[in-house]
Symmetry: C2
Subunit: 160 residues, 2 copies
Amino acid sequence: MIRGINKKHKVGCLMPSKRINPADWLTALDESGFRVTTVQETLIDIFARSEYPLSAEQAWEIARQSRPKTGRATVYRMVDKLENLGLIRRVHGYQGCSHFVPTLPELMMLFICLSCGRADYLDSQPLEDLIQHSEHTSGHHITDSRLQLFGDCADCQENA
Amino acid sequence: MIRGINKKHKVGCLMPSKRINPADWLTALDESGFRVTTVQETLIDIFARSEYPLSAEQAWEIARQSRPKTGRATVYRMVDKLENLGLIRRVHGYQGCSHFVPTLPELMMLFICLSCGRADYLDSQPLEDLIQHSEHTSGHHITDSRLQLFGDCADCQENA
DNA sequence: GCCTTATTGAGACATGGTATCAATAAGGAT
DNA sequence: ATCCTTATTGATACCATGTCTCAATAAGGC
């Protein structure tokens, strides 16, 4: 379960919802040859608006509030599709590995606050440097990476 | 530096089994107040010797070869215990998130070869630097991290 | 060797995710 | 706008992975 999901916070200042446009996601689906349906709109909206990483199960629960007939399998299929299209990405961590956050256009490092549960996106230049360095010293060819940082976000430190 | 990459060998040069001593693991269990049992010895041996990340299910399968009556739940419990004691760590990645590798005493970065599946341990200084840098620029307090690198290992590149 | 109790094994159970298939609804063609 | 084709959906059965229960076993202190 997501920690802090029921806590009341001043503002969601970590999740970059402003930077995500659901309409762009629909365009992406359309351009990939998929039909644009109402379930998709519903789910895209849910993921794009959420302040917290969401699991498929949680997304289903939320979806049924506005669209009661939504099927469970459909949500799982949709989450899969969104992940494959790179629109959302899996959070590997303390809450298990089945929660997702929207992807930002640029490659970014994920930070998860262990106190309020929210995600933040950090500039990934340091990661790119690290990769290049490790490639050099190890001799391995690095084609992909997965980094997550955990701790107390600036807000939570302040309110502690 | 570990690596232990010996370019003359085609197999088994990545996992640092030499550096892991099953006896130490038993000592760790003992010192944590747990009883030392034969299942534990069996499983510790399996994890310490494996060249590849193993899931609980895989470890169970292997365990039954030498100890047919081994119970499934026992293996899951044991894997849990080993993870909690920090003796093995979870690999988050392409094979799902339920495989484990032995932990090395020092904090190290994991590299997984997408071609042969083996794990390698890289020096983690770059990661520590990255964390410090990100802490500074983000204002978050970072208490834990999770990094994994994927690609083609030196061996596989050579043999391609 | 005895006694206490942590650990085990077997199997029932829970959870998270997938496969099947008839019904529905996108969206191009008319 | 209406029809037609077929991707998508919803319901449900299913599977895989992991957990719980509880009687039987075996560590290890005495």
